[in-house]
Amino acid sequence: MIKVQREDFDVGAELAALSAGRGEVGAVASFIGLVRDVAGPGELSAMTLEHYPGMTEKQLGELEAEALARWPLDRVLIIHRHGRLLPGDRIVLCAATSSHREAAFEACAFLMDWLKTKAPFWKLEEVGGQSSWVAAKDTDEAAAAKWTKNE
């Protein structure tokens, strides 16, 4: 399931709904991404997430399908927020459920690695009144690439 939204989400309720009534599911692996506080002492920081409506849902939907095809999963959940967020705010929740914990863990890590390099979101960071776009990280590209090499 894919949700792209401005509002916050309820982690406990989302994860409970994902496995509710699914008798074969013994493993729920999940990841929550939070806004880090990048400001120095006494400064305020914030982060605005811009995205490409339509393409985001399409890319995340393909990511979900890819995870379901690669691992013996029951379900996949990706919730990604956009708009202006403050330090400590939740940005993203990824989860994968399975009867096998290895599959759930691997799929969840895969979701995050691919999401970081494929989902069309951009972070605008505000620190002490200055705004700047966050640069993409080579380490994210490398993390995503390792899932391709393994095929």
Binding site: L49, Y52, M55, H80, L115, K116, L124, W133
Partner: protein, 83 residues
């Protein structure tokens, strides 16, 4: 045809989208970038380093040698930083 810009590409070009009419010989993403870069100083700045510009045709990632049609939705943006 319509072209969309996101994040700092939009900031540099100055608009989130625009209607452009590239000449008929412009058929690939790479050629479109080269043509757009000539449109204004702001465009030139936005597309100064094509290696860090990503393109999507109809919301799918597209490389420089891919061709597009005039009815496609073309978008340019920086490497993504979500998650």
């Amino acid at each position: 045809m319509k072209v969309l810009y996101f994040a700092w590409l939009r900031d540099r070009v100055g608009v989130a989208e625009e209607i452009v009419e590239p000449p008929i010989e412009v058929t690939t993403v790479g050629e479109l970038i080269a043509w757009l870069a000539q449109r204004s100083a702001r465009h030139g700045e936005a597309f100064a380093d094509p290696a860090i510009v990503r393109c999507a045709i109809n919301q799918n990632y597209a490389k420089a040698d891919e061709s597009f049609s005039r009815t496609d939705e073309i978008a340019f943006f920086p490497p993504v930083t979500g998650g």
